[in-house]
Structure formats: C-alpha cells, structure tokens
Symmetry: D4
Subunit: 218 residues, 8 copies
C-alpha cells in the first residue's frame, strides 16, 4: 500500500503508465512492475540508476536497461503504431542522455521518431543544412544545455510546435541547467513550450499528446 497505482490515468489521459524510479526502494519498484506487467503490457521505468537496475533485471528476464537514458523497459519496444513523426534534436553530444530518455519514451508510447544530434548554434550551418528533416516532423523536441539558444533558432525557422528541454550539462554559471531553462523561457520565437530541466520524459509526453491529437483527426 505504499503505491496507489493510477490505473485510470491511461483512460483519462490516453497515456501508458510510466514509473518514476528515483527515490523509490528496489522492492517497491519490483512489485509495481510485477503488478503492471501482469496485464501483458509493456512498462517503462525512468530515472533508474544502474545499481538498482541490476537488482531489478534479475527478476525480469525480458527487461532491458538503457544505461545512457537510465531507463528500463519490461519488454522490447514494438514498431511505431501512430503516424506522424517526432524529431528530437540536440545541441551537443553531451545532451544525448536526455535526448535518449525522450526517444525511449516516445517510442514506448508508439511514435515514430527521427533524431538530429550535435547541431548547436555555435556552428549554425550544421542546423540549416537539415531543413528537410525538420519539415517531415509534426513536432520538434530541442534538447540543449550550454546552448539553450538552439530552441529560439529552431522556433524561428519552423511552423511546427517546438518543445524545449533544458539540460543540466554545463558548468559554472550554468547552475545545473538554470541558464538553459531561463534562456528557453525568454526566447522571442513563438510556438515554444518548455519542460523541466533534463525532463526528456516530459517532452516526449507532450509531443505524444500533440501527435495523438493530430492523428485522431485523420
């Protein structure tokens, strides 16, 4: 009775259950996974450290742990089922971990995902040469730490909704992602929504809500 599972949320919000593992005891996570996994559905666990992951994997032979994203899946990902592409971009290679959490979440939720990495604004031509990839997406997720600016530049180039994810990658006056967060919130380009620092999961959830809305009307 430490966890009051919200089985109705899927019905209410149309979203599959995702477990936030940070701060939970290993045996709590295992019992939640067992409970949810019974219905033959896949389950995603986020913010899971490698040590705890190892303890958990011992109980679920089919489960997969992604070290970069620090995420666990009870079963392998299936093919995308929802039409409409989500594009995930990063400014630097050091933002990859957060991008990977977003990628896994979006794929887990049934979406088709494209990626475009290391296109920071300090070398703007790398971005401008990738117009086509942007045009093919329904929604664009921009993940950036030291170059929060990337979200503004993208927002000024495209008509699609843009979801900006500040990352904690940086140092000094970066203040664990605060600099990127503020930079993204203040952008002059419109059509941009921001999620919490390092919240790849949240960005993918919002992207999913948008794409599912589009699909529903097709």
């Amino acid at each position: 009775d430490f966890a009051r599972l919200d089985h109705h949320r899927a019905l209410r919000t149309g979203q599959a259950e995702v477990i936030f593992c940070q701060g939970k005891q290993p045996d709590h996570i295992i019992s939640i996974l067992k409970h949810l996994g019974e219905k033959d559905q896949n389950v995603l666990g986020t913010r899971l450290d490698p040590q705890t992951a190892e303890l958990i994997l011992a109980h679920f032979p089919d489960a997969i742990y992604d070290r970069l994203a620090r995420c666990l899946l009870l079963r392998p990902l299936s093919e995308p089922t929802i039409p409409g592409k989500i594009l995930i971009m990063t400014a630097g290679t050091a933002d990859l971990a957060v991008a990977q959490e977003a990628w896994l979440t979006a794929r887990y939720m049934g979406h088709d995902v494209d990626t475009l990495f290391d296109v920071g604004v300090a070398g703007i031509h790398r971005l401008l040469g990738q117009r086509e990839l942007m045009d093919q997406a329904e929604v664009i997720i921009v993940v950036a730490g030291m170059e929060g600016a990337l979200a503004s530049v993208v927002g000024g180039l495209v008509e699609q909704p843009v979801i900006a994810v500040p990352t904690s990658v940086g140092y000094g006056a970066h203040f664990q992602g605060l600099a990127a967060l503020l930079s993204m919130l203040n952008t002059c380009a419109s059509g941009i929504g921001v999620v919490n620092i390092d919240n790849g999961f949240g960005a993918a959830s919002l992207a999913s809500a948008i794409v599912r809305r589009i699909t529903r009307h097709q």
Copy 2:
C-alpha cells in the same frame, strides 16, 4: 532602419506578425504599424502601456486598445476561421489580464476560444464540474499565479496538450511568478509545456501552432 522587419517569418512559421511594444519608442511603433498595416492586414501590438497607446491611437482611427490585456489591434477582430477550440482557464480573477492577452492573440490568429475563469485548486469542485468544456478543446491553456498547482490537476484530467502560463500575481515568496513557474515545471502530470511568466502571447502562439497542425491534417 531601427527595425528589421521579418516579413518572411509569416511564411516560415505560418504566424501573423505581432509587435512587442515594451521598450520601443512611440514613433518607432507608429512607423512599424503604418508599414505593416499598409498591406491591409490586421496587426497586434502587445505589452503596450496606456500612455503610449493613447499617442498611437491618435494615428489609427480604427485601432482598439484593450486596457486589461495591454494590447492594441489595428482593426477589429474578425470571426474565427480555423476549426478546433482553444480553452483558456485561470485559477484566480487576478490572472485575467494574462488570460486576456492569450485570448486576444489566439483570436487574432484566427482561432475559436473558450474561457473558464476562477477555478483554482483551493476549491477543486469548481474545476471538476466543467469537464465538458475541457473535452471540447483541442488544447488547454492554464493561467495561474498563486495556484500554479492548477496546471498539474488539469494535466492529470485530460488527454489534450496543456500549456501552462505562470503569472506574476501573488506576493511575498511568490517572487514575481517564480513560485508558479517552478511549480508548473515540476508537475508529475505529463503532456504539459510551460511558457514564460505572464506570457499570454507565447501560450496562444504555441496553442495556435498545435491547432494549425491538427487542422492541416483534416
């Protein structure tokens, strides 16, 4: 040559031109308005104080100034042309000014907008009784200052994308909207994107980008 108008942005991003008036000289604003207004299109000016508005209204007989939203329109609003409702909710009556900026922007961009005011979480039944209005919207904008919590509650109830606008309404440890901003960024409910404090314009722009994307597929 103080303003380098971005005439292509409408083409690139599909969004009508909106002038950010704060910090601009009155005559600059007038000359931009004249220039843009020539093409017989309507123009929206945001963050315009009443004193400057008065100076400007003297030059444009058909222009309208909305004191609550602190916005100016060169011509009256036309009827909505884009299908798909946007719902704007506020937690308190003191959040109305920001909601009104969002309303004007969305209507100016051609959208159909519903409103639901004063449904703060301290009286949660007021919100729960309005399920139908939420169900009819394609996107929901939640405007809240002292009760940033409203965004989480709404995000946990609906499947639509939710855009959260923290407002600077409050006092003490509210720190000009910082408390609401942080509260909205940290919510556990998924499918929520946050814009800058008091940025009704930005929320409507993002809502518009989402709704136009949906419409495009119809």
Copy 3:
C-alpha cells in the same frame, strides 16, 4: 560539556527530548543517549546516517534504527496515549522517507497516526476517494515534493489545520525542494502552516502541539 542539555524544555514546551544527530560526533551522541536514557525514558534521534547508527546500536541493545526515516529509538514505541488522530499524506511514493520521520516522531510523542500515501494531484480522484480518512483526523500533515500542489487541494477540502512539508524529492527546476516550498507558501487555501524542506520531525511536533492543546480541553 559540548552539549548543554535542555532538561527544562519538556516542562516548558511539553515536548519530549529529540536529538538532531546530523553533524554530531558518534561518541557525543552515545553519551547524550546514555545520559537521557538513564531516566528510563525513551529517546528519539533524527537525521542519523546508517554508518553512525551501526556504531551506536552496538551500545544500546534495545535500540531500533529505521533506515527509511534515518531515525533511532532507544526503546520500542509504546501504544498511543493521546486521543485525536493525526493523518499523514504523501503525494508520491518517493516522499515516504520524510513521511516516515513524521510518523515516528508523532508516535514517539504518544499520538495515534493514520497514513494515506501516493495521492498526488496528477490523479486527483485518488485523493477525493479518501474523504473519510481526512474527516477522522484532528490535524493533517501533507508531505510532497514534485507536487507541492497537494497542500492547496487538501487545504481547500477540509476544516482541520493542515501542516505542509515540502520534500527535496524531484530534479531540475525543483532546486532541492525550493519549488515545493514556494508552492506551499503561496497557496490560496487558508489554514495551512509550512515547515522546512524535509522536516518531518517539525511537522509532527507542530501537529503534536495542536493535538495536545485540543486534548487538554477535553
């Protein structure tokens, strides 16, 4: 002579002695415990890390260490002696550690405690279905990290005093509990008092002061 025990505080404030162990040397803690334990009374130590706890347990065969709450008791808890229930609620399962510190403190002070875990506002129906439990309490303690909003929602539902405990559970723009703290301080619901981030002990002390006041008049 490093510790000037305040033997009169129990008389003055009606509260049993509790040792704040963080930052104290193990042998200091042991000698304080010995001194206080002599009078055959139970003693509670809070914010005690597992390594130090082990050193201490070696000297006190009857002592119990609670890993989740990071608290030590010199002797087992006795049955509640003071009438009037305290209800402890948490928003997420990751807030359990702080709730447990509150639970132990309240029980140690002689109170009867109910619990209600994982009722975050992102799934508001989980909370609304627990009306009865709330009605039976004299005071309600709300423990929440990522969803500080829970305190407002509860505060708007009940007539009892509510004590809000922000927790440091979260990440990114959570800033080690600051987001939850600010959110709780700014709530529109009235009848809410806030204690320090992660201060389960303080919440239980305040709840105890209130309940003992009620009892005194019975």
Copy 4:
C-alpha cells in the same frame, strides 16, 4: 462570470469568505461584495489599496477601511463568539501593518485576540516580562521582519502552537522578507508553522482553524 464564488467553502472548511483584492478591478470587487453582502453576512477584503478602497466605500455606507492593514470590512466587527485566545506578537513597530491584517482577520472570524508589540529579541527582557499573556493564549502568532529570530525564542518558551509570519520590513540583505522567512523555517524550536511573507491573513486563518478545532471538543 469573471469570479466563480466558492459558496461551499464555508461549509467545507468552516471559514467565512475573504476577498483577495490585489489585482482585481474595482467594479469586480464591488459586484462580489454586493453579491456576498446580500445574505446579510459581513465580508472582509484584504490587500486593498487606499485609492481603490475609496471607490468602493462610495457604494457601501457601512463599510470600514483600515489603512494600516489595507483591509475593508462591509460592516463593523461584532464581539468575539469563539472561546480561546489568539495572541499576536510583533518584533518591531514597523511590523504592525501585517499584525493588523492578522488581527482583523481573526476578529472577523469570531475570535478573541490579544496583542503584544515591539518585543524584538535585541531586547529579550521585553519578551520575558510578558509570560502571562503568552500563557493565556491557545495559539501565538509571531510577526517579524528584521528579527525573524523572535519566532525561535517564543517557540522555545511555550507549549502552544506558534504561527510565524515573516514580514518584508527590512532592507539590503533582507531581500523583501526572504531573510526572515528562511530564519523562521530553520529554527530549532519545534511546534512552529510558517506562512507566506506578509501573510497576516493566512496566519489568522490557521490560528482560527486550530482554535475552532479546540472549541469543537469543549
């Protein structure tokens, strides 16, 4: 329809309606007051500036505006009806405005209130000489800006619940009340709950919830 009055809150939470006037249009306030005042009940409006107050007083001949507290009452206060004293203390004379808001709110809610002003810790004997007044109260509200320390000192002297209200009175590194807020949250004395900076209303509401709870059992 700008205000969704929460008529049930009185039933749910046992508290009389209080209007937060800051940020509301004068005519909105007038129409809310008219609506609520019809039922022959008194109404309290807080955070009302003198200019707006004047506009409002013109419509309500019996209303009273308290300049110090910046509060308005539709009708004069009646005699206290609920047994159990609330004591309001201030550290400096400059904290009087916030104390007065608390006083008015508590009296409006039917309580009997004692006051003790200018007993800052820089002259601790002024406080120690007032033991009796403290002993007679069921709850103590401590209002302090430059001397947030007062809350700790009082909390260590009494067994009653203490409600601490930081004020924005101060300068420099006071940061509009942040220094007092942090000081109060970190106190070692137990049995203290903190409300928002300058929130005299909130302190009185919590005191009222506690005293009504005590009364209910008598």
Copy 5:
C-alpha cells in the same frame, strides 16, 4: 573633496575620463565637469537621468544630452581618429538604448563604429545576410536581452573577438537581464567576453582597448 579625480588613469590605461553619474548629486556632477572641461577636452557622462541632465545643461551651453543613451557630452563628437571598425549589433529594437551608450562611448573614444540592429536569432536569415559588415570589423559588440543566444551565433560565425552585453530588456523569467547574462556566459562558441548587464560603456571600453592595441602595432 567628495571626488578624487583620477587624472592619471588616462595615462595609465590610455582611456579618456568618463563620469558615472548615477547616484551623484547634480552639483557634484557640475563641478566635476567644470574641472575636467577646463583642459579643453571633451567629457562623457553616463547613466544620467533626463531631470538631472536638464539642470546640468543649463551650465554648459555646448553640451548635448542623448535621451536614448541617457548620456551627456560636454562638446559635440569629433570625427573618428583611430583606424579599425567596431561593429555594434542588437537582437531587438528594444536593446537600442544600451547599444546607443556603447556607440557614444566608442565614438567619444575616437573610434569608427558600424551598426546592425534587430537581427535576433528568431529570424536567423537577417543575420546571415550581413556577413560583409561583420567581416569589416575588428571587434564586434553584441547587445541582446531576450535573445542572449545572438552572441553564440555570432561567435560561431566570425574570427574577431566578440563582446557580449546582456540587457535588462525582457520580462518574467528574464529577471532583469540575468537570463541573458547566464546565456552569454555559457555559450559554446569561443572568443567571447561578457560585460555587466546594460553596460554599453564597458563593452565600448573593452572594444577600444582591443582596437587601440591593434592600431599600436600598425
């Protein structure tokens, strides 16, 4: 004797005297100007409000006050005498005031200055079309408030030293220029130095030191 003029600084640092007027009494400023002006040299006063400027202009018939820059010059500017262009860019029209302080300071120090306004990154093509102007400069000053990102983009395009000036133009989570400052300090593009928020004077001084160093070697 309230001001200890640093006559040697010009010798030591090669820079003309500039008076920081904010917070100085009008008669103090007048007497400093008189003293410095005697040697037939021009003097620049920065951060001077219009009211004080008016009082001062009454004593100096040849002086000029620039309302936008809030600066005063004792005599008209002479033609540039030092070879090597400084380019001043702004992201938005609202950043003009700070750019103008930089322009005046650079011109006052004898430099040749080009300008390029309103080339924010939300419309990146406006910037890319101005390559030639950038190529002609020895140093580039980038002034930006809501789009601190501009400094990174420029820094990644050019080989010249770039001086970034964050401005306080913005709102909400802009925190009076903090967002732009942090964004500029965290940029990945190298070859960028940052000065204080709104410090157009400081940017021009640094540009001047660099250009004079280049000139010295010619």
Copy 6:
C-alpha cells in the same frame, strides 16, 4: 503602546537610542521623539524619507534633517567626547549617502571621525597615497558598492579592525548590493567584519563598540 521603548539598552549595551524610522507612521515617530527628547538627550532617527521628515521638523524647532544620509537629529551634534579616531572610506562618490549615515551615527555616539572618499581600487594609487590617514585610525569603515574589492585591499594593508559596508549603488549584476556583499564576505584579507547592505548605522555602531572598548582600557 505601539512602541515598547528599550530604555535599558543604553545601560546594557552602552549605546544611545537610535530610531529606525522606515515603516513607522509619522505620529508614532513624533511621539517617540517627544518621549525620548524629554530627558534632554539628543536622539537620532535613521532611514527617514524627506516627506516624513518635513512633517516631523514642524514639531521640533532645533531638529536637523540630513537629506543625503536621510537622518534626523533632535539637536545639533556636540563635539566628540571619546578619544580614538574612526576613519570612513568610500570607493565611489555615489557611496556617499551610506558613508554619511555612518558619519552621523558615529559622531552622534560621541566619536571623532575622519573621512577619505572616492578611493576605488580601479585607481589604486589614490588609496596608497593616504597611508597616514589610515594609520591614525583605531577602526576603519570601508563603504563600497561597485568596488567591494576595496575592503580586501584595505584589509591587507592595515592592522586595525576593518568594517565593510556593501552599498546598493550599481546596476545589472550588482543585484542591489548583493555583488558587493558577497565580494566582501569572501575576501582573503583577515580582520574584516561585514554589516548589512547600506547599513551605515550598523557599521558605526560596531566601530563605536570597538573604540569604546579601547578607551575603557586607557
């Protein structure tokens, strides 16, 4: 009974009474002044704005208001009575107001005060040329806003105790004196104590306590 005058403080702490006027009602100040002035002693009021000062001066024909320091004295200053010089230094002319509050307070308390203004570290020779003045003082007060560095430099030059007063003079990343405060607290030079931002009164009080201590032993 709004003010609980602390008549014993003079006895306890050896300090004359000083009234902190900010946030006090004019008539409160007048009645306190009347009360204290009766005993034929002089009284100092600090942080008094010019408007309120005018109201007060009408009641006290011998009182003097110092606009720069924003202080009021009930009677003219008498000659210094306590041996031992206090030296007050400022970094910029804009720090004069705070220095003046310190000067008045020190003189009011009976001390002999030297001053040395505008010796900021950006022109370090101005400071080094004033060695003699420093050598003659028992205590040195350093007042600085934009150049908090001055306190370190002085602290490294002298053997006397140094009292550092950060001022709110500055802009941008000065954050109302925070930059100067932090700079002063972090200095490597030893023998420096810091008081609140703009607290000229506090600096003089500490200087006075030190000098009286020295005198007492003579």
Copy 7:
C-alpha cells in the same frame, strides 16, 4: 614559484601567517610549511582534509592535526601572551567544528579564549545564566547555523563588539548557511560584524585585531 609568500603581511597587519590549504597540492603545502617553519615560528594550516593531513604529518614529527577543526599546527600551541579574553559561543553542538577553527586560530595568534557551547535561543535560559562569562570577554564570537538568531540576542545583551559566524549546518531551506548569514546581517541589535559562512578563521582574525588594538593602548 607557485606561491608568492607575503612575508611582509605580518609586519603590515600584525598577523601571523596562516595557510589556506583547500585546493592546494600536498607537496605545495609541504614546501610552504618547510619554508615558513624554518624561522622557528609556528604555522597554522586551515581547511585541510584528513587524507592530505596524513601525507603532511609524515614530514613534520611535531605537527598536530585537529580532525574537528580540520586544521594543522606545525608545533604545539604556546600559552596565551596577549591579555584580554575572547569568548566563543555556539548555538548547537553541530556548530562545534567551526568554533574549533576559531578557537585554534585565536590561540595560535596568542589569545586567551573562553568557550560556551550549545546555548541556542530555542532554550534562552541557557544563555541568560551565563552572563558572567560574557562580561569577562573583550570580544564575543557567536557561531550558529540553524539558529542565526543567537547573534541578535547576544548583541542586545552586551556592550562588547560581537562577531557573528554563520555555519552551513542545517538542511532544506538553510541553503548551506545562507539562511544563517542573512539572519545575522539583518539583526536589529547593533555592534555586530559578520564573516563568511563557516569562516572560524576570519572571526578569530577580526577578534584578534580588536583585542590587539585594545592591548596596544594598555
């Protein structure tokens, strides 16, 4: 040549050399100690972690490492040589480490030191019963983390200069000592100077400067 020893500082400021070890390489520290120790004088090293201390002790047979204070002395302390007592007080037992750094520094500088521990304001009588100890001191150092309030209370009781040292002991909204720092800077009691968080060394240095000044006049 990595360290430019300031041999003249002792002459200039009258203070013995103290090495700040944090961030220095072990061999650097060893060579500085060797160099300074040659002149047969004692040397104090502060902020030295136990691992590095062990490496260093191997080279200096007479050196002593104090684990609590994290300080090293090249030779044992000699008896106090300067008349005039310094009293060091702490609010909690957890503030002992910082107090110990102050104690060692003061003793190393030749002073006579009294101590009074664990007299936090939550139990004010513990403090009031120690009047005599306070009266015997020339200067009082108050070390406090969770109860920054202690400095105000002491400042209001005594006529001696008070030096306040905020400590980083605490949690949650304590923000590593910021709460205590702000609380101490804002106190209304006068005659208090504040040093950096955890800076026991700095407090002792200032106390020493004051006491030596007093002595010099005897």
Copy 8:
C-alpha cells in the same frame, strides 16, 4: 553519427578544434580523437577526468594528460608561432588549475604565454612589483576565486584588454564562483571582459582571438 564535427569552424573562426569532454562517453571521445588526429594535427581535450583519461591514453601512445588542468593533448606542444605575449595571473595558489587550462589552451593555439601566480589583492605590493611583466603582454588574463577584486585592480593599472576568469575556489558565501563572477562584472575599471566560472579555455580563446587580430595587422 553522435557527433557532427564542425570542420569548417577552423576556417570560419580561425580556431583549432578543442573537444569538451565532460559528459561524453569514453568511446565517443576516442573516435572523435581518431578522426581529428588523422590529419596529423594536434588536438586538445578539456574537462576530462583522470579515470576517463586513462582509458583514452591507452589508445594514443603520444598523448599527454595534465592532471592539474584536467586536459589531454594528442601530441606534445610545439613552440609558440604567433608573436605577442599573453600574461596569465592568479590571485591564489588554489586558482592554479584554471590558470593551467588557460595556459595549455593558449599554448596549443600557438601563443607565447607568461605567468604570474599568487598576487592577490590582500597583499597588493606583490602585484605592484610586477609592472614589467604586465607591460610586456598584449592581453592579460586574470584568474581569481576568493579575490575577484584582482581583476579591477589590474584593469585600473594597464591599458591592455583584460580577460577575467572567476573560479569556483572558495567556500560559504562564495557559492561556487558566483561571488567572484559578480565582483568581476561590477568593476568600475574599464576594458575588462568576463568569461564563465572556471572557463580557462574560454579566456584563452578570447585572448587568442585578440592577439591574432593584432598579429594580422603587423
């Protein structure tokens, strides 16, 4: 495809490629180094921890790892090729690590570098005695943590451009370099540009851009 190398940047900005290693996977770094190293050019990697460095060194026999600077070079440094000296100064010996990163970067970019360590302002004569070294430099880099003041003092002494690097060395109210950063941004001395906290690399890059500009004109 995780890294989109910006081969043109060298052409565009004239700067050699430098790899920011923090947050990158070891094998990513190895493959980037292999790719860049093929062209027989040297490569610099910054912010590389010792553990990862060891893994990498195993693949590159000629590579060198500098533990102090936490930097790796693929091949030994060659002799300086660009005329014009860069002087790197530090305030304390604990700022050496950051100075070393700047030194390595400048040398790697082909510059001639002088150094001057441990000349903090608390002993200002150490600095004043080194005038000649300053005079010989084209640009001066000032690295300082606890004594951010050093940048102002140097800026007021020389005519060369000064680049200030705040370091995270310090404690308490230093806030990981924030105090030094703010101090440097607020200096009154002109001709100073600031880079991110601990960003030795960025300082050297800017110095290089300036020196190459000077050289180009020779």
